[in-house]
Amino acid sequence: MSGEAELFDPKFLSRLRALFFKLRKRRQLRKKGLQATPAAGFTREFKDHRHYTAGDDYRAIDWRLFARHERLFIRIFEEVQEFHIHILLDRSRSMYEPHAEKRSTALRLAVALAYLGLIGQHRVSLLTLGPDARREMPPLKGQGHVHALLQCLTALEFDSVTDLVASLRQFRPGRDRRGIVFIISDLFGRLPEESWDALSRTIAWPAETHVIHVLHPHEMQPNLEGETQLIEVETAESRRIWLTRRELEAYARAFGDYRDALERSCMRRQINYVAWATDQPFEEMFLGLLARGSALAGG
């Protein structure tokens, strides 16, 4: 529980709740009226009355009000859609070492997304990406599963080697509900092309896909200098290099090119790409994530 309390303390949960209401208010302000959908599993909640006009569905006439006021009113219902939210969390060692902030950021992000899904009466699935995609717990629904979700995430070990291509090839979101897929990863593979190849698998998914690229600032701009023995945490491969300002500038340039290429690749596949630096404010980044077309926020 101590780890759970450290990562997901009540303060964070209260901020999430406030965030949820903020999103709902924004949604209410932005979307008024009916939202008809033929999909199964929809709930209909009463929202308001209005005068009957010609052409309106006479089945919606509230006869009780007609009895009291002798005027025709029709009932307006708010349609609530149920999504299946898939949270794919990278559990490779690079998400934990050498920058533990990446792990906490990824977990908090997963919790936030799951919490929003649960309190929004959506179905939430949690999968981890390692050598393959592994389902950590069955799909959840309802606020009562928040604690179980927290327990599961707290116990998650970040110690594997990521094979993004194999993992994402293995993952298949169901077609019964509209899906929203959040991939939380640093996307580091053996080659830069490996990330693009893996993300190309998402085209076949019947879901809205969001790629959250969790990065530490030092991964974008290392603060190293001089002769350095570099060891990759996942493979233990080492490389000795003398780093000067010129090398650091070249590194930042190469990394920026990699991110730009990744973002362009995601845009071509209609994937929402978000580069999430661990030193940036969480709530601001989270709101920005949901504002960038997430059905979770707009639904």
């Binding site: 053996r190 830069p192 350095t228 990759e232 090398e247 190469a254 990699y258």
Partner: protein
Amino acid sequence: MRFLHPAHLVWALLIAVPVVLYLFRRKPRTVRVSTLLFFKSLAREHRESEWLRRLKRLLSLLLNILAILAVVAALARPVVSPRAGSLRSVVVLIDRSASMAAADGRGVSRLDAAKAILGERLAGLPGGVAVMAIAYDCRPDILQPFTLDRREIARALAAVEVRPIEGDPDAAVCLAARLAALDPPAAIWHATDGLPGEGSGERSEGRREKGEESGARSEGRGAQGEERTGEGHPTPYSPRPTPYSRRSAPHAPLPPDVSLETLCVPLERPVNAGITAFQMRRLPMQPSRFEAFVQVHAVAPGPLEAALDVRVDGRLTATRKLTLGPRPPSPAPRSSPDAPRPSPFAERLLIPVTAGEGAVLSIVVAAPGDALPLDDAVHARVPELRPVRVLWVAKDPDPFTELALRSLGAEGEIQVFQGGPAAWPPKEPPDVAVFDGWLPEAWPEGVAVVAVNPPRACGPLQVAPIRGGVPVESVRVAAERHPLLYGVASGRVALTQAQAVASDGPLQPLWVGPSGPLLAAGEARGQRIVVMAFAPKNCEHLPLMASYPILVGNAIYWSVQPAMAAHGGNSRKTGELIATDGSPVTWSVPAAGGLRQEAAPVRGRWAELDRVGLWQTGGGEAGSAALLAERESLLPARESEEREAEGEGRIGKERPTSRSPSLLSGDLTALFLWCLLALLVLECWLFHRHAVY
């Protein structure tokens, strides 16, 4: 090599710092990173094996140590000087002769270059070595006795100026060697533009031969129809003997523990044309006219166009173009060590002088790119046309001699007085005394003597009568070029020898018969003497020839020449000494607007002719002074590296001199500082620009 400040060598211990830092260097920092994906692209150019990295670390350590050592060496002031470690004294010998005024393209004279080299050498000399400064031209001059104060030496050298005088390095080296031997071990640093190992005599002779061998051609004739002497033809003029003969033998071997180092500062490609001989005299057969003999020498890489102007009192009277060109190339192979150097070019001219008495005759030679102006002009005053007074003393006058003297006197240039033995000594001393078959009891002093058929020996005249005489069908000419024989057909002479002249005396044999010399001429104690060991009336062939009057006239003119030269046409070489009465010598030296008057004070009773121009003593003696030195006009050229190498191999054993490379001689502080800079740049380039790790 030694260090001027060896105490600074203790700083060499600082090399322990990089060594310690190397031994206890920081290990490379180990950093765990999420991925090597992007580092690999950077490290692609740096991927090297471990042993290469170690090698580069060692290289870096080595460069650091070398840099520290370079700094320490620079602080310790290393100097390289031959035998400087054991030297106790150094004699600095600097050439200030005329050729040291030759300037290169930047206007730097050879003297300035020599001063610079000596200054550099002196800066690198240890403090305990005593230094003496000597400057020389025709005679050495001690500027500064042995001293430990370098500033005094520097001041003395800075005050040295070029003098238009021919240099005599042998005398200077000899003096320097003697002085250096006082405080051995010692070194003589001889700064000159000449070549090392060439004594003045050797060099002069060599140049003279080459000058005579070199071809000379001229374009047309001068406006006054001057003659040009052909190659190998005798000239009627002999060079004036000087007390500083350049034909002296090479200097004696150096004393032990004394080394001679010649610091040569010649021009790389000298171009110069200068007047190396000049004499003005009356024409032998036309005593009322003068002619000037001029010899022009040139040195240049190729044919040289020169212009020779003749001016009388500043007015241009004649000009002519000279093309001083080389002879056809010698068939000797180029690779031979005896391959000739580029020959100097020479031209000899006889220029008639039509000017009144006392007029100033100026002859100026000009050539493009001329490096030495001091030898470009000669000035002389046209001599006074005073007849030569000849006293003919004969006990039994020889008719042919009388005939010859009368014919000479008919021209008006020779005034002949005849008398018997009772007329001797005369009240007024004549210019020339002709003793015909008679000699006075006491040898006359201060008058030129022409002795014809002397009956006995007297004074410097050493003759032995031959009883009955010896007929000589043909004489052997011993000195063909002697002025006495100018115009004389010696090969057709047949006569009867009446005396035998001693050949080991001061007189030089000119004609030699079976019984010894029968015509001799020479100078003893400043007195010119001509001896004819025959009686013309007893000869069958000689008196009937035109050669006899010519011979008598030549004898009179040659013997009286010094006396006549003292009256106006007294052309001398610079550096000679003249007797004065103690009053200043008045000089007329060439200037922009003509001749400028100067007064030169005289210390003692002898004055040195130390400038080019006209001079006049307080006692009335007048004359002119000019450089007139082949040695100075034929500027030596710097030998190419190949020839220098050949020369080292050829005569390296013969000469004691050596030339150290300028880079590794003297003060090496700058060299070590440059090494330090180079090391730093190399290290930066290797380990920072290319980041070889």
